[in-house]
C-alpha cells in the first residue's frame, strides 16, 4: 500500500522531467494504446513501461505493486478474450491495461503531488472562461490522492470492529459504518479546509 501511486523521492531523469510533460506523454500513451493490434506490440508497450521504472531507479517490486490490485480484472479480461476472440486479442488487451497502469504509476511515483496539481491547474486555465475553477480542480485532485489511505484505514478499522464483535462477512455491516465514517471525515476535512483559508 505504501508505494501505491505515491511519490518516491529521487534524482532520475524522470523525476526531473516537468510534471506537465509527463502528464501529456501519459495522455498520448493512453490515446495511442488503441492502436495496439499485435501481441508483440502489447509486449513492447509493457517493456517500455518497465524500462521507465528502470530509468526512474524504481525496483520491480514497486512496479509489481502498481498492477497487483488489478489481477482480478486482468484475469477476467484474459479469460473472456481468450474464449471469445482468441489468445492474441487477450494478450493485446491485457498488455494495454498493464502498460497503462504501469505508466500512470510511474508518473505519480516520480512526480510530487503539488507539481502535478500545478500542471493540471496551468493546463485548465483556458477553461476559466467557461466557468471551470482550475485551483478547485487541483485541490480536488490532491484531496482525492490524500483520501485514499484515509478511507483504506477507515475500512480496516470497520473490518476489525466487525471481527471483534464476531460478525461474519456482511456487506451491509461493512458498508454502512464505512460510509458514515467517510462522510464524517469529509465533514471534518471541510472544516479544516475552511480553517486553513481555502474558502476565503
Amino acid at each position: 500500500m505504501s508505494s501505491l501511486g505515491l511519490y518516491i523521492p529521487g534524482g532520475s531523469p524522470l523525476h526531473r522531467m516537468r510534471a506537465g510533460t509527463k502528464l501529456v506523454l501519459m495522455l498520448l500513451a493512453g490515446a495511442g494504446s488503441v492502436l495496439l493490434d499485435h501481441p508483440w506490440q502489447a509486449a513492447a508497450a509493457v517493456a517500455v513501461a518497465l524500462l521507465g521504472y528502470a530509468v526512474a531507479r524504481l525496483s520491480w517490486r514497486v512496479a509489481l505493486r502498481q498492477v497487483r490490485p488489478l489481477l482480478w480484472i486482468v484475469g477476467f479480461v484474459a479469460v473472456f478474450h481468450t474464449v471469445v476472440n482468441g489468445w492474441e486479442r487477450a494478450v493485446v488487451f491485457v498488455g494495454m491495461i498493464v502498460s497503462l497502469v504501469l505508466l500512470a504509476g510511474l508518473v505519480t511515483l516520480t512526480t510530487r503531488t503539488t507539481d502535478m496539481v500545478d500542471a493540471v491547474v496551468h493546463g485548465l486555465r483556458p477553461l476559466r472562461r467557461v466557468g471551470v475553477h482550475p485551483e478547485r480542480v487541483g485541490l480536488l485532485m490532491a484531496l482525492g490522492i490524500r483520501s485514499v489511505p484515509v478511507v483504506v484505514g477507515l475500512a480496516e478499522e470497520v473490518r476489525d470492529a466487525q471481527r471483534a464483535r464476531g460478525l461474519t462477512a456482511s456487506p451491509r455491516a461493512f458498508a454502512v459504518p464505512l460510509i458514515v465514517r467517510s462522510l464524517r471525515h469529509a465533514d471534518a476535512l471541510g472544516d479544516a479546509l475552511v480553517a486553513r483559508g481555502v474558502d476565503d
Binding site: Y7, R112, P149, A195, R196, G197, V198, D200
Partner: protein
C-alpha cells in the same frame, strides 16, 4: 496579546424540535497568553472555540479578534487565528509532509523559494525534517499531530486554537505536543480533557450545559470542574 472579545453569544444547532442550544449568553474577553477551556462532552466548549476563527458564526451576539468581527471579516480573522483539530487525519490535506506544510503558504501566493525556506525551517523546528517527503498517513499519531500543528504555525497566526489536540495520543506523544504548545510565543486557547495540560496557564474557562459557569485561575477552575462533575455523577 491579541484581544478576543465574545459578546452576548447564543448559538444553537438544528431547527424546530431538533433545535439544540449549545451556547447560552456567553460574554468574555480574552487577553491572556494561555487560556484553557474545559467541560464535559457536549458542554459547548468546542463550539465556543470554533467561534474564535469564524468556523461557527453566532446565531446571536458578536465575536471579534483585534476588533475584527468574525461575521464581517472572516478571512482576516482566519489569517490571525490558526486552528488545530482533535484528529490530525482530518486536517492533513496533502499526501506528503512537506506538501501539507506548504499548502497554506502556497494559497497565500508566496514564491516557491520562500515557501521552501519556510517549510524547511518549520519542519526543522518540530523534528519533522527527516520526514519531509514521507507520506503523511505513514506517520505516527504524535507525528501527525505535530504535522497538523506545523501546517498551522507556518502561516504565522497571532492566536492558536487547539481543540483537544492530545485526546487521540498516548502519554509520550501527548507530552511532546504539550511541550511544543508550552514553548509557543503565540496566544493559545486550548480545549482539553487532560487537565494536567493546563499547568502554567493564565486562565481557565469551565463550560457546562451551554453556559460559561466558571472563569478564573487554573487550580481553582479545575477544582470547580472536578466538584461539578462529581456532583452530576453522584447526584
Amino acid at each position: 496579546m491579541p484581544l478576543i472579545d465574545v459578546r452576548g453569544v447564543t448559538h444553537a444547532y438544528g431547527d424546530g424540535q431538533a433545535r439544540r442550544l449549545v451556547l447560552r449568553d456567553v460574554s468574555v474577553t480574552l487577553s491572556e497568553q494561555r487560556i484553557g477551556v474545559i467541560g464535559a462532552n457536549g458542554s459547548g466548549k468546542s463550539t465556543f472555540v470554533r467561534l474564535l476563527n469564524g468556523l461557527v458564526l453566532p446565531a446571536e451576539g458578536t465575536v471579534s479578534v483585534h476588533g475584527l468581527d468574525t461575521r464581517k471579516h472572516g478571512r482576516e480573522v482566519r489569517k490571525r487565528v490558526g486552528f488545530c483539530f482533535t484528529d490530525p487525519d482530518a486536517q492533513i490535506v496533502m499526501p506528503t509532509v512537506a506538501e501539507d506544510v506548504a499548502f497554506g503558504l502556497r494559497r497565500r501566493g508566496l514564491g516557491k523559494a520562500e515557501v521552501a525556506a519556510r517549510v524547511r525551517a518549520t519542519l526543522d523546528s518540530y523534528g519533522l525534517a527527516d520526514h519531509a517527503d514521507h507520506p503523511a498517513h505513514l506517520l505516527s499519531g504524535g507525528q501527525k499531530q505535530l504535522l497538523a500543528l506545523s501546517s498551522v504555525l507556518v502561516t504565522e497566526p497571532d492566536v492558536l486554537v487547539l481543540d483537544e489536540p492530545t485526546t487521540l495520543l498516548d502519554l509520550r506523544n501527548a507530552a511532546v505536543v504539550q511541550r511544543v504548545v508550552r514553548d509557543l510565543p503565540h496566544q493559545v486557547v486550548l480545549v482539553t480533557h487532560h487537565l494536567d495540560l493546563l499547568d502554567g496557564f493564565d486562565r481557565v474557562l469551565v463550560f457546562d450545559e451551554a453556559r460559561l459557569v466558571y472563569d478564573g485561575q487554573p487550580d481553582a477552575a479545575v477544582a470547580f470542574y472536578r466538584e461539578l462533575m462529581a456532583r452530576e455523577v453522584l447526584g
